[in-house]
């Protein structure tokens, strides 16, 4: 490829800008409780935290024999938390999850717990952010199944869903299947990678576009087979490994070529055999970034940045433009990055990004696998494959349109638009619009007044995935909103006998009547008072998202109330309430997106970057492209921290 030459692996000296020194605006107080908790946010201070710890923790965690070596007597001021930040992050999570104090010990109320959690997190984060935003770890990462498929497609110019033969990947980090930590390798992978490489190369050998891409030199008069093969590898390997390739790295592939020739294989077969090895090499299968062995953070290697960009927005390898910018040493320039982000979003490959991100963020990927609406109760849904597909694609395309049109991100909560077609309009009880073209095509449209739709919470995919197969569940929907929309998942239920929503005489009682039992038990009520109310507001949507005015023969009561007394009725009022909390939503979305972009779990330091990006979004009318740009320009994305010395040795 022009731009990258063998033996020219010198990182262009990029300009070190002031990422690491940027100071943050004063921290916005953790908003987690503002929606949910009835307790006043008030002046929770160190003394309150000390009292909490004294009452609930110190009987075990003090003195020489402090359990877990965690001695709370050493905590003299808020700053003490920062000297043991890692321990406190864990301790705080255990308190939040109700694991601490352990069973049998006096337990704090939910409000006490949350106020302590919010205070501790705030102290820790303020400590972490005071030193500026610094990048977290960047572990090597196997290409996941989707990335593998797309990379082979772009590398060889073949259109082939080759990854379908590979096992599916699990997910971790912020909930995505590109998390470095959960991209394991099994013996099954080794077989599948071998087979897929063989299949891809055999396919490429018969495909004219692919041959033109790969076989850049033919042996002939004056060109020895060896020389032609060398040129082919010099062209192919840097693209396959997504960085310049040193001579000594390329030489063994030439030996493979020669070995095949000695076995009597013709020229082309020998070339494709050697290239097959490249597709099984860890240099192809893993994304590897050159280590920073210096003492200071530094701008990320330009080729590594090109890959981070392309795997973020395209889920595939960099194209020639990105490679050229890396080679020219320009890719770290903010104006260049911004321009590239906009170009990449416009490219068709960003559709896959919209799909992967949206479906994993909203959990709608489970629709059709783990979650299948009951075929007997919803025959029209079960029988109509087109409708099912439209429902699944609606949130994906809606998200992508917001990105393409650079609209404010709160459109995801409430919008005057929809991505629709005739089938969806019927499903939603809307009057289909007269329009040109294929009525099946999903398109961006204005919603009529009083449509009861607009935004994720009116979408069938979301409403179905947060229901049971045969009925709605205000609990599941409420928990879904707290988790996916607001980023404040409810803690796990304590070990009390679960209240079954369908318990009792299911034919006469509405779900609401059954759920009132939550209010009777104070242990249940502490959390369900914030979960159920949100879900009730969506009761007018059935388990596949259709509007209904009656449930179990009675009029739907869609009124909800939060623990703090905020009352609302029906989806429109709830959306208005959520819009007032949009900063909470935006912060959650930003954290999810940064976690996706980095392919790992966010650290405390990363949360400083999230705050910073969320602040930029507020200043820029929450513009969708600003979010992507700000993430790409953030320190965690384009700066590489120094490797801690202990990690360098065996």
């Amino acid at each position: 490829m022009p731009g990258i030459k063998i033996n020219s692996f010198i990182a262009p000296s990029a300009v070190m800008s002031s990422f690491t020194t940027r100071r943050l605006p004063p921290l916005i107080l953790l908003a987690a409780c503002s929606l949910a908790s009835a307790a006043p946010q008030g002046e929770y201070a160190f003394d309150d935290a000390q009292a909490f710890v004294g009452t609930y923790c110190k009987s075990c965690h003090s003195g020489k024999s402090a359990v877990g070596g965690f001695n709370l007597e050493r905590v003299a001021s808020a700053a003490s938390l920062r000297t043991e930040a890692q321990k406190w992050i864990r301790a705080n999570a255990r308190v939040r999850n109700g694991e601490m104090p352990p069973k049998g010990s006096p337990a704090p109320s939910l409000d006490e717990r949350e106020r302590f959690n919010a205070w501790a997190e705030n102290v820790l984060r303020a400590g972490a952010c005071a030193t500026g935003i610094t990048p977290g770890p960047a572990p090597i990462r196997r290409l996941n199944r989707d990335e593998y498929t797309a990379t082979i497609r772009d590398l060889l110019d073949i259109h082939l869903d080759i990854g379908q033969a590979l096992p599916a990947d699990g997910a971790g980090g912020e909930g995505f299947d590109n998390a470095a930590e959960t991209l394991f390798l099994s013996p099954l992978h080794s077989e599948k990678y071998m087979e897929a490489a063989k299949f891809a190369m055999e396919f490429a050998a018969r495909n004219s576009e692919s041959r033109a891409r790969v076989l850049v030199r033919k042996p002939g008069p004056g060109v020895l087979a060896d020389q032609a093969a060398r040129e082919i590898f010099e062209n192919f390997l840097p693209r396959a490994f997504r960085r310049p390739v040193r001579t000594e790295e390329a030489a063994p592939y030439l030996s493979l070529f020669r070995a095949a020739q000695e076995e009597g294989q013709p020229f082309e077969e020998s070339v494709f055999f050697a290239l097959r090895a490249a597709l099984v090499s860890p240099l192809f299968l893993f994304r590897v970034e050159p280590q920073n062995r210096g003492a200071e953070a530094r701008p990320l290697d330009p080729y590594a940045l090109a890959s981070r960009l392309s795997y973020f927005i395209w889920g595939s390898m960099p194209d020639q433009i990105l490679f050229d910018l890396a080679a020219a040493g320009k890719i770290q320039e903010p104006t260049v990055l911004k321009e590239q982000v906009r170009r990449m979003i416009r490219d068709g490959r960003s559709l896959g990004f919209a799909q992967r991100f949206t479906e994993q963020w909203l959990l709608t990927r489970e629709l059709g696998t783990e979650k299948i609406p009951d075929a007997k109760l919803f025959p029209s849904y079960a029988a109509d494959e087109e409708l099912r597909s439209d429902i699944r694609f609606e949130p994906i395309l809606f998200f992508r349109e917001i990105l393409l049109r650079d609209l404010p991100l709160w459109n995801l909560l409430a919008s005057k638009h929809i991505v629709g077609n005739r089938k969806l309009a019927e499903h939603y009880g809307l009057k289909p619009r007269a329009r040109q073209g294929d009525p099946r095509q999903l398109r961006w449209e204005d919603l009529p007044e009083g449509s009861r739709r607009g935004g994720l919470l009116g979408m069938a995919a979301v409403l179905a995935v947060s229901s049971y197969p045969h009925r709605t569940s205000p609990v599941l929907r409420g928990a879904w909103i707290l988790d996916s929309i607001l980023g404040t998942p409810p803690p796990p239920p304590p070990n009390v006998a679960p209240l079954d929503e369908a318990h009792g005489d299911a034919t006469t009682k509405t779900v609401r009547e059954r759920l009132t039992q939550h209010g009777k038990n104070p242990v249940c009520a502490s959390c369900h008072s914030r979960i159920d109310g949100l879900g009730f507001a969506l009761e007018n949507y059935d388990a596949i998202g259709r509007w209904r005015d009656e449930d179990a023969g009675k009029p739907v009561d869609a009124s909800g109330e939060l623990a703090d007394g905020t009352k609302f009725e029906g989806p429109e009022q709830m959306k208005a309430m959520l819009l007032e909390k949009k900063d909470l939503f935006i912060r959650n979305l930003t954290a999810k997106m940064l976690g996706y972009a980095l392919g790992r779990r966010l650290t405390l330091k990363d949360s400083c970057a999230v705050d910073d990006i969320a602040a930029q979004l507020r200043e820029n009318n929450y513009s969708a492209q600003t979010m992507i740009e700000a993430i790409v320009l953030s320190a965690p994305f384009r700066v590489q921290g120094a490797m801690p010395p202990q990690a360098q040795t065996e």
Binding site: N97, P137, P139, I140, P167, A168, G170, A171, G172, G173, G175, F176, A179, E181, T182, F184, L185, S186, P187, L188, S190, E191, M194, E249, P252, Y253, S255, L256, A259, A260, E263, F273, V280, S281, P282, F286, V288, P290, L363, R365, T369, E370, I372, A375, K376, Y468, P469, H470, P489, P490, P492, A497, P498, L499, D500, H503, M643, A647, Q648, E650
Partner: protein
């Protein structure tokens, strides 16, 4: 489940295979046919662990009376023809998962008998599962070390309320505390894999593959020297699975190194077509794959997952059930739900 349509001819598939409950007398199911030509006349010992998510209705599961003359329970009643070959173990208990919240603490550790670490991923930790301990002993004897099967794709995401990655609920086979083994869910792909493995490859093919694997292992070694300690673990994982493949390729290409004998050879024409939509049919086919694998001696160790932990498969297709699995499992002693739970387990 009522839809039992054997897709394979009886020549290649034993009826009734695949219901072994993971107990070690599976070999009893294998007839000594004309194909058995191994020097050792005893059938190999195999192990299949079949996992049911969300537990079972214990009252309907536990048989009456202990010892040989026990009475099959309502859930186990379909095994009546094989009763002499069935043993039900009760009172097994994983003390290490007591107190862990939700499903994952229990289901993720079902074959490891340990405490899984609560994490969204970065420091995932389970134990080595019992099937893998067995596989470590016998994997050199067969072309595939062990077979991990299921019907549902791996559940992605993190369960944020409990803080566990769903990786724990999607894998019961762990080759190391940090490595869950990938599962296959497409019966056709499994069949092709078994056929390829059991029939071996020609020597020249194996030689070229070995060359190729040598090459990529060299890349891995070079790379390993350049990365930090945490990343080395990933590359070790890579080298371990690639070396394993290299060994297997080597053995397959060398008839003298073949230690396995197919009791029933695999007929490539009997391959199932793709992944059935019907849940019961899908389960049936995957269980058939275990039988095929054992008969062809492609492997001797297998695990199968009827679903992921917290699986909410809608079992409405069975007469008398109108709920999904996870929901029925939280029955709260409601007789109607308990009955449905029992039917699903059966």
């Amino acid at each position: 489940m009522t839809m039992r349509k054997p897709f394979l001819s009886r020549r290649t598939l034993l009826r009734g295979a695949g219901v072994g409950l993971g107990l070690p007398w599976l070999e009893a199911m294998v007839p000594v046919s004309g194909f058995a030509s191994s020097a050792d006349p005893r059938p190999p010992v195999r192990m299949a662990m079949l996992y049911i998510p969300n537990g079972v209705n214990g009252t309907a599961w536990r048989p009456e009376a202990a010892g040989r003359d026990f009475k099959l329970s309502p859930t186990l009643e379909p095994l009546k023809d094989l009763k002499d070959k069935v043993a039900v173990l009760s009172n097994l208990w994983n003390a290490a998962n007591e107190g862990g919240d939700g499903h994952y603490a229990k289901e993720g550790a079902i074959l490891t008998c340990t405490t899984i670490r609560k994490t969204s991923a970065e420091d995932i930790h389970n134990g080595v599962s019992m099937d893998q301990l067995a596989a470590q002993r016998v994997r050199h004897l067969t072309p595939i070390p062990s077979l991990e099967l299921g019907v549902a794709p791996v559940a992605t995401g993190v369960q944020f309320s409990t803080g566990y990655t769903r990786v724990y609920g999607s894998h019961i086979a762990w080759s190391s505390p940090t490595t869950p083994l990938a599962r296959e869910i497409d019966p056709n792909a499994v069949y092709q894999r078994l056929f390829g493995a059991a029939s071996g490859r020609n020597a020249n093919f194996a030689k070229m593959d070995a060359l190729l694997l040598d090459r990529v292992l060299e890349d891995a070694k070079r790379l390993r020297a350049e990365v930090g300690a945490a990343d080395r673990l990933r590359l070790d994982e890579y080298m371990s699975v690639m070396r394993g493949l290299e060994e297997r390729v080597g053995r397959a290409g060398n008839p003298a190194a073949r230690k396995w004998t197919a009791r029933v050879p695999i007929d490539p024409k009997a391959a199932p077509t793709g992944r059935p939509k019907d849940h019961g049919e899908h389960v049936r086919l995957m269980l058939d794959m275990i039988a095929v694998a054992f008969q062809s001696d492609a492997t001797r160790i297998s695990t199968f997952m009827f679903g992921n932990a917290v699986s909410d498969v809608n079992f409405g297709f069975i007469e008398g059930v109108k709920t999904a699995h996870h929901e029925a499992s939280h029955h709260r002693n409601d007789p109607d739900k308990l009955r449905q739970y029992e039917i699903i387990s059966r």
